[in-house]
């Protein structure tokens, strides 16, 4: 039973560029949430996708956008990258009807130069 997977593991971009991060949820999970974790901090909620729609959103600008596909996998897109976007981006999956906790992937480490 595969857990949550994310790609790529590491990424280096320059300011102003755009980036796309990918997530495949744990088998049987249909809900995907994205979090940003700055160094030395706890994860901060970005948004959540269910049934291919953004259902909830945290306090992040609209440079951050996402998508969920019919197979429940998800993408996080960040436009016009800033130095402050450097962080570990975490994907978490869960089952809507099961009401269980969210399970995290290994994350994508993004460095913006």
């Amino acid at each position: 039973d595969a857990g949550v997977t994310q790609s790529p593991t590491h990424l280096i971009k320059t300011r102003g560029q755009q980036v796309t991060l990918r997530c495949s949820p744990k088998s049987g999970h249909d809900t995907v949430s994205w979090y940003q974790q700055a160094l030395g901090q706890g994860p901060q909620f970005i948004f959540q996708y269910y049934e291919e729609e953004e259902r909830q959103r945290g306090n992040f600008p609209d440079r951050f956008s996402g998508h969920q596909f019919p197979n429940y996998s998800s993408e996080l897109n960040v436009n016009a990258l800033l130095l402050g976007d450097s962080a570990l981006y975490l994907c978490a999956s869960s089952r809507e009807l099961k009401q269980e906790t969210q399970y995290f992937g290994p994350g994508t480490r993004l460095l913006v130069l």
Partner: protein, 113 residues
């Protein structure tokens, strides 16, 4: 705003001793709490959870205690091992596991062999 916080940023314990990691929460509406373990370069790993209708829950070598009166959560690790060295986060949400998790900054546990 309301948030989850931690009393101690670092904790050093001798191998074989018991560890206690504390967490204070301020959102009285939160009814579901989770402890995660995060090793360097990895995503948060689920350890144990507890709902607000309970005050204690035990797992393998771990126990979570919830005191709703003073809004305090603790994680007890029995017979701490070197492999327990990591950053530990408590997280809270309201209702189902699919609502956004609110994390604190974390406590770093260092096990001295």
């Amino acid at each position: 705003g309301e948030s989850v916080g931690l009393h101690l940023p670092t904790l050093s314990v001798q191998e074989g001793d018991n560890s206690i990691i504390n967490c204070a929460y301020s959102n009285s509406a939160s009814d579901y709490f989770i402890w995660y373990k995060q090793e360097s370069g990895k995503g948060p790993q689920f350890i144990i959870d507890i709902r607000s209708n309970m005050d204690k829950r035990q797992g393998q070598r771990v126990t979570v205690l919830l005191n709703k009166t003073v809004k305090h959560l603790s994680l007890q690790i029995a017979a701490t091992q070197p492999g327990d060295s990591a950053v530990y986060f408590c997280a809270e949400n309201m209702g189902s596991g699919n609502t956004p998790l609110v994390f604190g900054k974390g406590t770093r546990l260092s096990v001295i062999a």
